[in-house]
């Protein structure tokens, strides 16, 4: 509901709104980063297969640094990472579901066993579908804990950023994270045993 009707905000205007703490501007930028996140998700899946190692080169583009992290950087980029976290969760889960369905559909020959678990450095050896199931249970037990895990696990937000995004104190976020992480580790280890 901003800008003139018929004339979308430009990327620069949206980034300015993000920097001023307008969370809705972050999600309007999502189409721009969606393909990139999808590429990232694919590379995470591929990282499993020998010969396709994920290159975790830190190449933070100067445009991003200049536009987002220039002045009140944390406030703005935090929202943006939070949006990315939500998108990553959706993309990874959809992707994993699609692969799962493909395998069950009899096209097993095209999918290697190692595709099942999304391993590859950053995601450890967590099975995305098991995690999604556990996250849905967690959201029933404590929605804030599930949100915290979404921000940290899928978006890589720090404890401090996640605390601000959720509007809680750092100590609360630390306690929440302690419990949520232990609970998920336990759920996921049980899942594998069963």
């Amino acid at each position: 509901m901003t800008g003139e009707p018929g004339r979308p905000d430009t990327v620069v205007q949206l980034l300015d709104r993000v920097r001023r703490g307008d969370a809705s501007a972050s999600s309007e930028l999502l189409p721009l980063i969606y393909e990139e996140l999808r590429g990232l998700a694919q590379s995470i899946f591929r990282a499993q297969n020998p010969g396709h190692t994920l290159q975790p080169t830190v190449l933070v583009h100067d445009a991003f640094v200049r536009l987002v992290q220039s002045d009140v950087q944390l406030e703005g980029s935090r929202h943006f990472y939070a949006v990315a976290a939500k998108a990553m969760r959706q993309i990874l889960t959809d992707h994993a579901r699609a692969r799962h369905a493909q395998k069950r559909g009899g096209e097993w020959a095209r999918v290697t066993i190692s595709d099942r678990a999304v391993s590859g450095g950053e995601f450890g050896d967590v099975d995305v579908l098991d995690l999604e199931e556990a996250m849905e249970d967690l959201a029933r037990l404590n929605p804030r804990h599930a949100q915290l895990v979404e921000l940290r696990f899928y978006g890589g937000l720090t404890i401090e950023e996640a605390a601000e995004e959720l509007g809680v104190s750092r100590q609360t976020a630390v306690n929440d994270w302690t419990m949520a992480r232990a609970w998920l580790r336990r759920e996921l280890s049980r899942g594998r045993e069963g």
Partner: protein
């Protein structure tokens, strides 16, 4: 497991971890009492918290994830800049070729688009591709409800679904809704350009009342009627748009809480909202609320101004004014308005829903009872 038990486990886990490793188990044994299951679970949780697990939840992995996501964000943004700074809009959605953007609202963007056979449609697409399963379920449910509306005064739904949207920065899967393309003007433009007579304005309002009465008969409320949501066709007949906020009364009863998505959106339509609607309790919103909105529409069509002057007021002050004060007397804002018409409009705008007209058919009848 229940939320309470999870909460209890959280407290004990945090307290246990604050103690020295050697004291933890004694603390847990003392705290759990007879609940051996709780004790066993907590021991597991303590083990998962203290082991130096280098898994996906470890801080070093999270930090690497952050830099990967950061890279993706920066690549996407710089690509956006290269494209001349404007955000990408779809050139095609499913089977529809996008022609031009014609509007934008809280929930999505509306384009004029061409269907496979070349016919014009108004295509509404959700703004972002992040729709959750829950949001999609709600979208489907709303479309199914809207499909039931069949009235010459209501814009018809032609097709809906989830389609691939092609843009300059890639393709996304987006929910879309294709409606009849109406070659009409919004009420404010119609008034500004044609300067219709009072009789023509009242006749238009009566037509809107007919359309809303049909919707109410099938159980759909509009909830967001305002001058921009009514199009006037070349022959002067109204077409009501954007039943997007509409939900079946039965569903409404099941779910509580306001469905307005953001502060900005509330402010945008506030001037046409009934006192019970700004209360934020959607269980109070019923057919009477649409009667109020129609009264507000008529008030503005007659006087050129909305019933309440909310200019410069904060959200809270606006809510208070709508709830606690009567609208400015219509005769004062529009001295030329016949007394009986002003009384009719004031009645539709009554603060207590039961003081308004019994239903929209009654209101339409009153509007047509004489020549204004």
């Amino acid at each position: 497991m229940t939320a309470n038990r999870y909460e209890r486990m959280n407290e004990l886990l945090v307290q246990a971890l604050e103690r020295r490793a050697a004291e933890r188990d004694d603390f847990l044994v003392a705290s759990c009492g007879d609940d051996v299951e709780l004790l066993a679970e907590l021991r597991e949780l303590v083990a998962h918290s203290t082991a130096e697990e280098d898994d996906a939840f470890s801080e070093s992995r999270l930090a690497r994830k952050r830099s990967l996501v950061g890279e993706a964000l920066s690549r996407g943004l710089s690509r956006g800049e290269e494209m001349g700074g404007a955000l990408a809009e779809p050139t095609r959605v499913g089977a529809y070729r996008v022609v031009e953007k014609i509007g934008e609202g809280g929930s999505g963007i509306v384009f004029r688009a061409a269907a496979g056979d070349g016919a014009d449609v108004a295509l509404k697409v959700l703004r972002t591709p992040e729709a959750s399963t829950k949001a999609l379920r709600r979208f489907r449910r709303e479309c199914q409800i809207l499909e039931q509306l069949d009235h010459p005064g209501i814009v018809r739904i032609l097709d809906w679904g989830v389609g691939e949207a092609e843009t300059a920065v890639g393709s996304f899967t987006l929910p879309y809704l294709a409606m009849e393309f109406i070659d009409g003007r919004t009420v404010p433009r119609w008034i500004a350009e044609d300067a219709p007579t009072l009789g023509e304005r009242v006749a238009l309002a009566a037509g809107v009342a007919d359309a809303l009465a049909h919707a109410h008969a099938v159980g759909v409320l509009h909830r967001d009627l305002k001058p921009g949501n009514v199009l006037v066709e070349a022959d002067g007949r109204p077409r009501v748009l954007d039943f997007g906020a509409a939900v079946m009364r039965s569903i409404e009863e099941e779910e509580s809480g306001t469905r307005l998505t953001g502060t900005g959106q509330i402010i945008g339509t506030m001037a046409y909202m009934a006192p019970e609607q700004v209360a934020g309790d959607s269980s109070l919103v019923d057919a009477q609320t649409d009667i109020y909105a129609l009264g507000a529409l008529l008030y503005e069509m007659i006087s050129g101004e909305p019933p309440h002057d909310l200019e410069g007021l904060s959200l809270l002050a606006s809510i208070r004014r709508i709830r606690e004060e009567d609208p400015r007397p219509l005769k004062k804002v529009a001295p030329g308005c016949p007394r009986s018409l002003a009384a009719l409009v004031q009645r539709a705008l009554a603060r207590r829903p039961r003081d308004r007209h019994a239903d929209l058919r009654a209101l339409a009848r009153d509007l047509r009872a004489r020549r204004w």
